[in-house]
Amino acid sequence: MASKVIHAIYNDDDILLNAVKKVRGKQYRIKEVYTPFPVHGLEKAMGLADTRIAITSFIYGLVGFSLAVWMLNYIMIYDWPQNIGGKPSFSFFENMPAFVPVLFEMTVFFAAHLMVITFYLRSRIWPFKKAENPDPRTTDDHFLMEVSGESNADEVAQFLAKTGAVEINIIDKDEDH
């Protein structure tokens, strides 16, 4: 089935924010907003849920920390305990002060890298990925709101035209190819 979306292009972040509020007020569905820089307050105006990526980072940090504890205990205490410079390795806790730097570094390493990888996968960005912003100006100084319109596409377009947009495009999307 062919669906229609309307692209409203704005040239200012404040106008965009006002338009987003008006469109939401009319109960039209905003599919996506493309902006050249983070517009503060936009996710609230659009009603986006908070991102949980910081929580994943915390969990990854715990994973890294646990792995480091296991590794250090296995290598230094269990597998081959040595008396290095008169500092014998009797137990993990007695040796722990010497382990603090590596415990810390591994925690940070896991928390940072796995979080960034999660971000790339969730936002679907990676090398050789093709960009999906519908208009190249949206990385420069224009803001594009994509609103879905089925039977009432023209009505939505007329409404958007009055929200301060500089350009409105109605686009037929052929999804059944």
Binding site: P36, V102, V116, Q158, I168
Partner: protein, 585 residues
């Protein structure tokens, strides 16, 4: 409506009445333009230095560490000096982008990208030295916790040198990821402006297909914040651990409890000095004075003043404690009467003058806002911080507990060559970066333009804080219909007759070109006009800046209707304005 209020007392961070599009143009300019002669000269010098260093490294590895000036007493010297010096320099970038982000310091945005690039390049240089010093760098993987062929003999996790391996590899990789994530939207901006398919392809790959969705931005900001939170203790830990290399030993002068905070302060001190050295040149060469203002330079000087003060206090403490202990060995440590008057007096005084005395001039506001003086001071600090590490390592080792083994160190050409080589390598990387990467975090800068741009500050001063920060679009936008599969504007394809008429209309208002009396200008000089576009303009009969400079909105529209490729481009790039400038020059 979002409030863009910022206290009027704050100096604008972006000057020159910029718009969002101006920022894109200014940041893309060094990438899209051609390198000038001085760039090639500096690049060639750096490349030669790098190749010389590479030769010295190969000589060292093929012959042995004996080609260095090390001896039985001084068994660590330039290599570790250079290692610590480079790691220290590599502290400013993450400090600027992470610590200043947590403190919500907006002035970081003009400088964070280059500072982080500098960090990464500096840490690469630092990492070279321990690897070369191993003597057999192909066995470098032995520092990793993997069992060896004789059984499960592991690396020693009690050793600060192994902590270094973990700290520096974590620091380098996390800094790289932090930097690259911030680069994605800026690469995307370059990608979408690219004129040739090749650059479009390259920046498309580099940008990871960044599209700038609202959700992406939300995650982007959260990731930046969390990375900043992680990188802040990380950056402090790295030089702390480097200082442990010395502080956990029993050598007088090295065995010092204040080393961790003192080393971290020294690292930030030298790192900011290096940022100053590079950015003072770059803002001039790449025309970025509107983004890296005198305020940025002064703020960095204030950080230098603070960290330099901490370092000074540490020097005085070391000197006092060495004297107060009454132990004769302590009289030969790098901060002692013995050092100041002994055979290494010149190294001692180089340290005191460069790190302690010269930075004091920055207490004077007029001097820390003087770009030339700041540049000189930044180079002096870099020299001073190199001497600090040299003094710690060489002076402390030169007079150990057994007077019969007292010795001096003299570097060989290989020591000097490798050091020069890393400086060359560093500048090779930085110069390439300056021509191919967006050197200002333009997406971030755009987000503070309305609060901190001088034009918007003036607007608020004149019309009050609640005035709208935009000009209302007049009338309603026209609605266009498109089908995604077909080319853009296809619905508006014009018939041949319409086209001819439009061309006539266009030329009647721009004036015609007479090849007998006039000479054609190089239209490619107009930013936004490439060889293809120039040809198209020629086919319409447009050959001179004079003609282009007469274009108004009406002509732009006519042009768009004839040439469908880049609708709106001519107007956005202000061809007429550019052409009238070119015409007069």
């Amino acid at each position: 409506m979002a409030s863009h209020y910022e206290a009027p007392i704050r100096t604008p961070l972006i000057t020159g009445d910029k718009t969002y599009h101006d920022i894109s143009v200014d940041v893309a300019a060094p990438i899209e333009g051609k390198a000038n002669k001085s760039w090639w000269i500096v690049f060639s010098i750096a490349l030669v230095a790098f190749l010389w260093g590479l030769g010295c490294i190969i000589y060292t590895i093929s012959t042995g560490i004996g080609v260095w000036g090390l001896n039985k007493t001084i068994n660590w010297a330039w290599d570790i000096t250079n290692f610590v010096w480079w790691v220290g320099i590599g502290h400013a970038g993450t400090l600027i982008s992470a610590v200043l982000l947590l403190f919500r310091q907006k002035w970081r945005m003009g400088i964070n990208r280059s500072a982080e690039a500098m960090t990464i390049f500096a840490v690469i240089q630092a990492g070279l030295f321990p690897i070369i010093h191993m003597g057999r760098p192909w066995l470098a993987y032995w520092v990793l916790p993997i069992p060896n062929q004789f059984g499960s003999l592991w690396v020693n996790f009690n050793s600060p040198l192994l902590w270094d391996v973990f700290a520096i590899s974590t620091y380098l990789s996390v800094s790289l990821v932090f930097w690259w994530t911030g680069l994605l939207p800026d690469f995307a901006m370059i990608r979408d402006r690219a004129k040739t398919p090749f650059t479009k392809k390259i920046y498309g790959i580099l940008s990871f297909g960044w599209s700038g969705r609202a959700k992406d931005w939300q995650r982007f900001e959260e990731v930046s914040l969390v990375l900043a939170g992680l990188a802040t203790p990380l950056v402090l830990s790295v030089h702390t651990i480097v200082s442990f290399d010395f502080a956990t030993s029993v050598v007088p002068g090295w065995h010092s409890t204040i080393y961790p905070p003192y080393f971290v302060a020294g690292a930030i001190f030298s790192g900011f000095a290096m940022v100053q050295t590079l950015l003072i040149i770059m803002r001039k060469v790449s025309n970025l004075e509107n983004y890296i203002t005198i305020l940025h330079i002064e703020n960095m000087n204030l950080v230098i003043l603070l960290t330099g003060g901490i370092v000074t206090v540490a020097y005085l403490t070391e000197y006092f404690i060495g004297w107060y202990s009454g132990i004769p060995y302590e009289n030969y440590t790098y901060l002692s009467f013995g050092a100041a008057t002994g055979p290494y007096w010149w190294a001692f005084w180089a340290l005191i003058i460069c790190n302690l005395l010269v930075p004091l001039t920055l207490w004077v506001r007029k001097w820390r806002r003087n770009i030339m003086w700041t540049f000189i001071v930044s180079i002096i600090i870099n020299i001073g911080m190199w001497f600090e590490r040299f003094d710690i390592i060489v002076i402390d080792l030169s007079k150990d507990r057994l007077p019969s083994s007292w010795s001096m160190f003299s570097p060989t050409f290989v020591d000097i060559g490798i050091f020069m080589g890393t400086i060359g390598f560093f500048f090779v990387l930085f110069l390439l970066y300056a021509r191919t990467f967006p050197v200002i975090a333009q997406a971030e800068v755009k987000s503070i333009l309305k609060s901190s741009g001088d034009n918007y500050k003036r607007l608020r001063a004149e019309k009050g804080d609640d005035t709208p920060h935009y000009t209302e679009v007049s009338g309603t936008a026209s609605v266009k219909k498109e089908t995604e599969k077909t080319e853009k504007m296809s619905s508006e394809e014009l018939s041949e007759n319409d086209k001819k008429e439009n061309i006539n209309n266009l030329l009647s208002s721009l004036g015609t070109f007479n090849p007998d009396t006039q000479t054609a200008d190089d239209l490619k000089k107009i930013s936004g006009v490439g060889p293809v576009m120039e040809q198209k303009l020629h086919s319409l009969g447009i050959y001179t800046f004079e003609q282009v400079s007469k274009m108004t909105d009406k002509e732009y529209d006519l042009l768009d209707s004839i040439i469908n490729e880049f609708p709106g481009r001519a107007k956005r790039d202000d061809w007429a304005g550019q052409a009238s400038k070119l015409k007069n020059s």
